[in-house]
């Protein structure tokens, strides 16, 4: 298989209340083995998945938010977060986990993986994807 495809994982649901957020993250990590051109989109309630400060002891569930920080190591460094979804929820980039990756083409400089985009920009990204998995 020599052709690399543009994969997009679309996340629209909040974490913990349903299993979608965790399942999506696990598929991304497993799918990383196929070395395709992967991007993640967080919009609507999906932006809540990236919120800082998750502490799950009292609900008896595993806190999987630290796993988002590992995405950079799996060469997943295009994480699109929709501006309009943040605005509707009273959130800013500061409320989100600081996700980074090391750019091998730039002397391993640490860069931000999260790119805040408008709904219009996200629509274009969605339109140009070859494979879209929605959660």
């Amino acid at each position: 298989m020599s052709e690399v495809k543009k994969f997009l994982y679309v996340n629209r649901k909040a974490p913990y209340g349903t299993i979608y957020a965790l399942e999506s993250l696990e598929v991304v990590l497993i799918g990383a083995a196929f070395e395709q051109d992967v991007a993640l989109a967080f919009l609507d309630d999906g932006v809540y998945q990236l919120a800082k400060g998750q502490a799950t002891d009292e609900v008896g569930m595993k806190n999987f938010s630290p796993t988002y920080k590992a995405l950079g190591d799996y060469d997943v460094n295009k994480i699109y977060v929709e501006q309009e979804s943040l605005d509707a929820r009273g959130l800013t980039l500061d409320d989100l986990l600081p996700l980074t990756y090391e750019d091998e083409d730039d002397d391993w400089a640490e860069k931000d993986s999260i790119k805040v985009v408008s709904a219009a920009e996200l629509a274009e990204i969605m339109d140009q994807s070859d494979v879209v998995l929605s959660f």
């Binding site: 909040a14 913990y16 209340g17 799950t56 009292e58 806190n63 929820r89």
Partner: protein
């Protein structure tokens, strides 16, 4: 005795919170649990659902679910009381019946 209404989904995802508020009699209670706790946050496009009804209905939110989602109590709509699991039990016992808005 009045009813206890529980809401377990985010108002930005589903109309359950709005419907519950529209159907809760004055003097009853609404408890936000699981993803429903997002309805307790101030500064969202849906915060007015709760703040407009604050005088008529007693609003509660599950503390453990807030913490799991990284929501600081300082960001809640004023007037909402945070409860834990035993608080949930107490609310259920104090009300006539519990109605779940899914």
């Amino acid at each position: 005795m009045s009813q206890l209404h529980t809401v377990n989904k985010s108002p930005l995802d589903r109309g359950a919170l709005e419907s519950a508020v529209n159907h809760a009699m004055k003097g009853s209670a609404i408890l936000m649990i699981e993803d429903g706790v997002y309805g307790a946050m101030n500064g969202t496009s849906k915060s007015s659902i709760v703040s407009d009804a604050m005088g008529d209905i007693s609003f509660y939110v599950m503390g453990p679910d807030l913490k799991a989602r990284g929501i600081d109590e300082a960001r809640l709509i004023p007037g909402i009381k945070v409860v834990d699991y035993s608080g949930f039990v107490a609310l259920a016992a104090e009300h006539k019946a519990t109605q779940s808005w899914l």
